[in-house]
Symmetry: C2
DNA sequence: CTGAAAGCGCTTACAG
DNA sequence: CTGAAAGCGCTTACAG
């Protein structure tokens, strides 16, 4: 594994041990186009015997790349982002890449600063979950302008390659589920207005309501920042309406959690007086006092699609990943 | 920022532009021991003007280091781990290091595999949150055996350098708080028996109970895997005891969440019939239907201490970080 | 303080 | 298929 002085073996060591030149050793060990021949076999045998691992930083220096992928997320304390990043790290690793993350706290200024720092670290490309449809995303604009490879995940800006969920289908299935259970006064709580994910889920909500010929009540559509606090606050307002909704569909599970907390604080029983459907099916959903019905998403698939888009020059946009509804106890029939 | 061909400027470019040798340019730009003189000033002016950023991978290759720190955590979907990792990334970045994370899912086999993969990537050192006091930690043993630099965070194995919380003090303050509110039948739910964090919190619990001359009831001390599910399940057992506890102190917030969910499912009111105190004060604690009283921890401090231990050759063990109690609505007086 | 030279560990035209 | 040579972008003894 290591030579006498405790340092890792180098290609030169392997070449010497196999009795070939460094060039031949390098070519024999090249994973993409391994060369044949007796000498090459000997090199591979020696490398395996000594557990030789190429110094990928040196190789990348020569190849003029870094093997590093920059990942930009709002925060890692959001379970969705943590799940996605874990999946990216794992998948990237299997493709011979490393992933480096920066968090933006939803601050475009911070995103620009920290994203640029990663550019200076010479990452080979970026995966962003921070895309906006309003164009107010300075870092993404900079990537485009400088032609730095990038792919979007979970959210799209309408232009760049993006690995996304079929948000509209998810919104439809959640809303239909509530309609089928007899609900008619259904509220929707979305995320930020510039997030395509929230837009799609809202579009699905509206489509299902229209399909069933149910009108959307006044004061029952809200937007937010995807936080528990927003769910708490908006629910207080919903419960104060003249016609209180009997159900709420939220664009993520954090909002749903806020809805349920606010309902409980107000003495409103879930699901008897208020049904709730979330989105993402985060691990906590199943473990709440009242287990949450939620739209489940395959984040490993999203991660794989985003890496494909980034790393395969020929990759075209992937079909949106299909979510599905996981029914639990937070929805009652009326 | 870039030369005509679109590639980043190199040290050679800066040297040429400043009319000095590459050696002189390199020394002028060396952050640790910047050299004086008129030429050096000129180099710095030119570098600033063109926004030159050294290729740190090339520098590290020459310096025989990578500037990469490996971070090993059970999972990133645990808010505590996500918070700590975010803090490590940020702090490491300000010291000129990158952080690469691997997750183990609490599986020593996976930890060994993925940790070794990071060793092969030639990281300069490791920060682990997976230490055990029972010695059954093959990857940590390997790091010690091969003298690979490492520091522990949140948990100690009793030997390696470790940045930890004063868990015992935290356990004492949580338990005293319950005792002061009149509780006597207090249960404790810890984490894994091999986790020093859990051991310390339990020791604090026992010390406070003894200090107040209160005996610990049968069946009221439990260990777990720190999960919500464990909190749910153990609470079911606590509620079935002949003498049901009036309060529970849990070694983390996930367990506390499980306790509260199980209580609500069983129709037991928190805090009227059951008081709960958690540990870590994760963001969710304040946003639950019944806001959770919890022991707050400064994770940024832990991250900084761990990096100090890893990177400063002269660093001695830091004093354990002092937690403090955040009182909310989950504790009632009796 | 300065420059010429060597070298970190690798890959890749080039000529055979 | 193979080897000798050049070079990725940097740092650091060495001699002045």
């Amino acid at each position: 594994m290591v030579s006498d002085d405790g340092r890792p073996l180098t290609l030169a060591d392997i070449a010497r041990l196999a009795g070939v030149s460094r060039s031949a050793a390098s070519r024999a060990l090249d994973a993409t186009a391994p060369v044949g021949g007796a000498k090459a076999d000997r090199v591979r045998a020696v490398a395996a015997e000594y557990g030789y691992v190429p110094n990928s930083w040196a190789a990348n220096l020569r190849r003029q790349r870094t093997g590093l992928i920059g990942v930009v997320v709002p925060r890692l304390t959001d379970t969705v982002m943590a799940t996605l990043y874990e999946a990216i790290v794992e998948d990237a690793s299997s493709r011979g890449y490393q992933a480096a993350v920066v968090t933006t706290g939803d601050d475009p200024r911070k995103e620009l600063d920290r994203g640029r720092a990663l550019v200076k670290q010479r990452v080979d490309g970026f995966i962003l979950t921070t895309a906006r449809t309003d164009g107010a995303d300075p870092f993404l604009l900079e990537l485009k302008e400088k032609s730095i490879p990038h792919a979007l995940a979970l959210r799209t800006d309408g232009g760049s390659p993006a690995a996304v969920i079929d948000d509209r289908a998810g919104g439809e299935m959640a809303t239909r589920h509530l309609l089928e259970r007899g609900h008619r006064r259904i509220a929707f709580i979305g995320g930020p207005a510039h997030a395509s994910s929230s837009q799609g889920r809202e579009a699905g909500f509206r489509a299902a309501m229209e399909e069933w010929g149910v009108s959307i009540g006044p004061g029952t559509i809200h937007h937010s920042d995807f936080s528990v606090d927003a769910g708490l606050e908006i629910t207080d307002r919903l419960l104060a309406l003249a016609e209180v909704p009997t159900a709420v569909f939220t664009a993520n599970d954090s909002l749903a959690l806020g809805v349920m907390s606010a309902a409980q604080r107000a003495g409103v029983s879930v699901p008897d007086q208020l049904s709730v459907v979330g989105f993402n099916d985060t691990p906590l959903a199943a473990r709440l006092a009242v287990p949450l019905t939620s739209v489940k998403v395959d984040f490993a698939r999203i991660a794989a699609d985003a890496l494909d888009l980034l790393l395969s020059p020929a990759a075209t946009d992937r079909p949106a990943v299909q979510p599905h509804l996981v029914e639990r106890a937070s929805v009652a029939s009326i």
